[in-house]
């Protein structure tokens, strides 16, 4: 199992900061009107994406969700290309044709954010099937929300991954809500992790605000998958810092002091404190990483703003491969 070396810890810390800065910045730009459409921010959930993806290489696959910026960054997508995509510019990762909900980078193993709740789940199973079919030891990670766990896709994907013992890790991001609907209302099971039993699949439920908890659970699951021991479900309890989408009034927050306390935990600060105390990096190094991250995201915004719109002719291109 991959250990958290100082190098890996620094990379992880950088990615977590990149995500936070990216989202905070998008939040601000959205208010100016420069970014159009439906934008769902990942800030607050960094420990999940980065905790899991720290174990992956470019030849592992992930599928993502409508709240996909964090997964993209954690999987190594270029933040300039991402920001330009969200602005709808020609230099975007998808040439401006996808936008926030469809950022993808197949070469990096990032099979796309997905505007359909649960849409990525069977796709991840297909990527896992491919990994097994070609006798690789690559894995496929499927990120999905608490809302997605009530779609039929969850059931079919979990069942198929289990009967075929595929190298798929189902990572549930339980941030308490699907839009304005609490998980405890919509999901009959006491926990989402518990649902794995119905598929004879191992599962864990971890504190998703705690980087190490996610990192270690993911490590165990990914190891099993690489060794041909099949899929795992990991439920990560987390919380989003912003509304469901930009514009949400969030009248449904917070129902209890416990919820509020949990919501206000900062996974990045917690990881910094842990890493510094464990000697993985120093406070000065952390400061430096934070600054670098701020600069990188600032540069990404500038890159996006300075980029041209797509060529009108591209409207008609790339419907089919020839």
């Amino acid at each position: 199992m991959k250990q958290l070396t100082p190098d890996l810890a620094k990379t992880a810390y950088k990615y977590m900061n990149d995500i936070r800065h990216f989202e905070d910045r998008v939040h601000k730009v959205f208010l100016t009107g420069a970014i159009p459409g439906f934008v769902h921010l990942y800030a607050g959930e960094e420990a999940v994406a980065v905790g899991v993806c720290s174990h992956l290489t470019d030849s592992d696959y992930i599928t993502s969700t409508h709240r996909g910026h964090g997964h993209c960054i954690a999987k190594g997508c270029d933040v300039n290309g991402m920001m330009a995509e969200i602005y709808g510019k020609a230099t975007g990762l998808n040439n401006g044709k996808g936008g926030s909900m469809h950022i993808a980078d197949v070469d990096k193993g990032m099979l796309g954010a997905n505007g359909m709740v649960s849409g990525g789940m069977p796709i991840a199973v297909g990527a896992g099937l491919r990994n097994k079919y070609l006798k690789t030891d690559d894995v496929a990670v499927c990120f999905f929300g608490d809302g997605a766990n009530n779609e039929g896709n969850f059931h079919e994907a979990m069942n198929m991954a289990s009967i075929w013992k595929l190298p798929v890790i189902f990572v549930n991001e339980n941030n308490n809500f699907a839009e304005a609907t609490p998980q405890i209302y919509a999901t009959a099971a006491k926990t989402i992790a518990q649902r794995a039993e119905a598929y004879d699949m191992p599962s864990e439920r971890v504190d998703g605000k705690n980087f190490m908890a996610v990192f270690e659970a993911a490590g165990r699951a990914i190891d099993r998958a690489r060794q041909g021991d099949g899929p795992t479900l990991i439920e990560c309890k987390t919380y989003r810092n912003y509304g469901h989408f930009e514009g949400d009034q969030q009248t449904y927050k917070y129902d209890s002091p416990e919820e509020e306390a949990f919501a206000k935990r900062d996974d990045i600060q917690e990881f910094r404190a842990y890493a510094v105390s464990e000697g993985l990096f120093t406070a000065a190094e952390a400061d430096q990483i934070e600054q670098q991250s701020t600069d990188d995201i600032e540069a990404a915004v500038k890159f996006a703003e300075d980029s041209p719109l797509p060529d009108p002719e591209s409207l008609y291109e790339d419907v089919f491969a020839d």
């Binding site: 439906f38 709808g88 996808g98 469809h102 359909m116 849409g119 609907t181 797509p310």
Partner: protein
């Protein structure tokens, strides 16, 4: 009946309210149509609940309670199938499919179950079901949240499809749909929600299956669906400058669409353009072109022109999305064959 100017969204909200007041069997369900289920501070009848992702159903839960405004899990096949089950057993559900692009998650309940039940049961069942959904590009929703699939629903025998273009029609068609003993897909263009118009305060219906002529003319007929009536009106204004009198028909009902009105118009004008934002193949636009050509061939002075989306998914970038939708410029360009002809005639 007294009238007041309200938005398209408010008109739908008012229609739902009046339908629920009139008939206890009417209820609504869908993802976050109330919002905040089980959140203590948003308990039954609380005013702060969401009321739908666009706010269309805001106020209904406070008024009717959570028993009649039901938040569902993210389970489109499940709750749409439940709506079919509730309908065939005597209720009158009005489920919401948040975006019509999610049709791929629940199609079986419409295509194979609800729409066929009456027929395959030998006429011994009714399925009074109104499915509200949204369509349309122009909100930067990208490929999975901007499609227009009313034509897909309209291809299914046993399904009626309604697409209102203004607040008045929205309320009246919705009330008529909810009174139908059949499946009606009621498709709302999300970019029209803020449009204002005079709407009677009381209960009234706009007949399903009837188009309306929004502008009379003698030279050229333009059939439109939903928001496209605005493009047609602008085209008509433009062509009026060349002395061309356009007749604009707002289809209102996409299935079954009003053949009599359209054909009568074409018999008068001899020329037809259909403006439809949906995908171009096997669509309502091709249906209209095919039927009109078949039934009014001898009256036509030129081919029926279809101005539609290109044969692509909806792109995200704003400049591409604008090009994707039919516009005055695109109508004038793409139908130039018959328009130029007309100009010659008129000159």
């Amino acid at each position: 009946m007294s009238r007041k100017p309200i938005t398209f969204m408010q008109a739908i909200n008012e229609g739902l309210t009046q339908a629920m007041e009139k008939d206890d069997r009417v209820f609504i369900m869908g993802e976050d149509v109330a919002g905040g289920a089980k959140v203590k501070h948003l308990a039954d009848k609380n005013e702060d609940s969401w009321g739908g992702v666009f706010g269309v159903t805001k106020g209904l839960m406070p008024k009717f309670g959570r028993e009649r405004v039901i938040d569902t899990p993210v389970s489109e096949m499940g709750y749409m199938g439940a709506a079919v089950g509730a309908a065939i057993t005597g209720l009158r559900p009005v489920p919401e499919l948040m975006f019509n692009d999610f049709v791929g998650f629940c199609l079986d309940t419409i295509l194979a179950q609800g729409s066929k039940m009456r027929y395959m049961f030998g006429g011994k069942a009714k399925v009074p079901l109104t499915i509200r959904t949204t369509h349309g590009a122009g909100a930067s929703g990208a490929a999975q949240h901007s499609g227009s699939y009313y034509g897909l629903f309209a291809s299914i025998p046993g399904v009626k499809v309604v697409v209102p273009s203004n607040p008045y029609d929205a309320k009246g068609l919705l009330l008529a749909a909810i009174e139908e003993d059949n499946i009606v897909v009621f498709s709302e263009d999300k970019t029209l929600y803020g449009m204002k118009g005079d709407v009677p305060e009381g209960y009234y219906k706009v007949e399903i299956g009837k188009a309306t002529i929004t502008r009379a003319g003698t030279d050229l007929s333009i059939v439109t669906i939903g928001k496209m009536v605005q493009v047609a009106e602008a085209v008509a204004d433009e062509l009026a400058k060349s002395g061309i009198q356009v007749e604009v028909i707002d289809l209102r009902t996409v299935a079954p669409w009003d053949e009599a009105t359209v054909i009568q118009s074409v018999q008068k004008t001899g020329r037809l353009i259909v403006i439809d934002e949906a995908h171009p193949r096997n669509s309502t636009a091709t249906d209209i072109a095919a039927v009109v050509t078949d039934k009014a061939f001898d009256y036509l002075d030129g081919p029926v022109k279809r101005v539609t989306a290109p044969e692509t998914p909806v792109p995200f970038a704003s400049n591409l999305e604008q090009l994707y939708m039919p516009s005055v410029k695109r109508v004038l360009d793409e139908a130039s064959e018959i328009i130029d002809d007309l100009k010659v005639v008129k000159a």
